[in-house]
């Protein structure tokens, strides 16, 4: 279709561009926008998750173009970097809703400890019941906390940090999909409890979902995510020594 004189030119441009951050950064945003557009079109159904759609589109694209993950990440790292400042930004809704947060201190601490231990023990336990290898099982222990923290913990206990990153993403997507129907089924109408539960179980992606639904839920999810980052960092090395 393309005349043979033009083909090398296009080839040259492609090689030039894909070696630079611009292409994969742009494509990452585009994939997410498509995911979000589908989410809106579906009437904001939790099953149509923008993260899952974006990841799927990008994986297919990388495979089709034979692009290495490292090349992709050189561009996409600018988005990845913002995870840090975004975690810090949680202090803002925390400050704005502090009066309500302080009144719920006891339920929060109790739910944090119970949720954090459940997340770690059940993930590793179920994996081992299914005969998953020890190395992989260990990589699941910190799956419920936000990505940079989870990867650090996995490194510490001898798992595979990049596998943890993937599992963290899947955990977030599952939490965001399940939380609304699950909480409605359980007839929980307390926004604080709903938000806190999804924040403990599925970190930032769950928190993003909570912010979409209700600001109080989002605030409590954000606090749960920050608190669980600390709790899991302390609990995983202790519990792993006991169970795996």
């Amino acid at each position: 279709m393309i005349p043979s004189t033009i083909e090398p030119v296009i080839q040259g441009i492609w090689v030039y561009l894909t070696a630079r951050p611009l292409v994969w950064l742009t494509v990452t945003l585009a994939a997410y926008l498509i995911g979000q557009w589908l989410f809106e079109r579906s009437g904001r159904r939790p099953l149509v998750n923008p993260v899952a759609i974006a990841v799927l589109l990008l994986v297919v694209l990388l495979m089709a173009t034979g692009t290495e993950y490292k090349t992709y990440f050189d561009g996409a790292q600018f988005v990845h970097f913002l995870l840090g400042p975004a975690t810090v930004a949680l202090a803002v809704p925390l400050h704005q809703n502090f009066a309500q947060v302080r009144r719920a201190a006891l339920p929060m601490v109790a739910a944090l400890v119970a949720g954090s231990v459940t997340a770690i023990v059940s993930a590793v336990g179920i994996a081992m019941l299914f005969g998953v290898s020890l190395e992989t099982s260990r990589s699941l222990a910190s799956k419920s906390v936000t990505m940079p923290i989870a990867m650090g913990i996995t490194e510490q206990i001898g798992g595979i940090p990049s596998l943890t990153a993937v599992v963290v993403m899947i955990t977030g997507v599952i939490g965001a999909m399940v939380v609304t129907p699950l909480m409605n089924l359980m007839r929980i109408d307390d926004w604080r409890a709903r938000g806190f539960a999804v924040g403990v179980a599925s970190h930032g992606i769950g928190t993003a979902r909570a912010f979409q639904v209700n600001e109080i839920a989002g605030t409590f999810a954000g606090i749960a995510m920050a608190m669980n980052g600390i709790a899991t960092a302390i609990l995983v090395p202790l519990l792993i020594a006991l169970i795996a």
């Binding site: 990452t28 945003l29 997410y32 993260v51 974006a54 990841v55 993950y69 996409a76 988005v79 840090g84 400042p85 975004a86 975690t87 930004a89 949680l90 202090a91 803002v92 809704p93 400050h95 704005q96 309500q100 719920a104 006891l106 339920p107 109790a110 944090l112 119970a114 949720g115 459940t118 997340a119 336990g125 179920i126 994996a127 299914f130 699941l140 799956k143 419920s144 940079p148 923290i149 650090g152 990049s162 990153a165 993937v166 993403m169 955990t171 977030g172 965001a176 399940v178 929980i188 307390d190 604080r192 999804v198 403990v200 179980a201 993003a208 979902r209 989002g218 980052g229 600390i230 960092a233």
Partner: protein, 124 residues
């Protein structure tokens, strides 16, 4: 806006520094969150630009997980062998964690009377 971004980055940087210097088990960004919270508490109110930047970042939080999520492409072989166990563990554990956390939160809230002061209710 630049000042707000600078504020967020400075808190994160200070958090990372403190975590490393004192070799705390608490991750840098989480310490950064605590530092910013204390700064806001001292100031008494959130500057408007900071509120806008924070709202923008948090409203798009899930986008930030996409680049690392695409890393799934590096683990397709491992997933092919162990996908059932991994999926069962992740799904089962996530649902179980939410159920345990929400029940404990509600139970303790009722017991300690934290319920009566907070009438904020709803469903979605």
């Amino acid at each position: 806006m630049i000042a707000a971004l600078m504020g967020l980055l400075a808190c994160q940087l200070a958090g990372e520094l403190i975590a490393r210097l004192l070799s705390l088990p608490i991750p840098g960004p989480v310490l950064g969150t605590i530092l910013l919270f204390l700064a806001l508490l001292a100031r008494g109110k959130v500057p408007e630009t900071m509120r806008d930047v924070a709202r923008t970042l948090l409203a798009n939080l899930s986008l930030l997980f996409v680049p690392a999520g695409v890393g799934i492409i590096q683990h397709l072989d491992r997933l092919r062998g162990e996908w059932l166990g991994i999926l069962a563990a992740v799904f089962g554990s996530t649902v179980l964690t939410m159920i345990v956390a929400v029940l404990v939160f509600r139970g303790v809230s009722r017991l300690t009377g934290a319920d009566r002061i907070s009438p904020d209710r709803g469903r979605a």
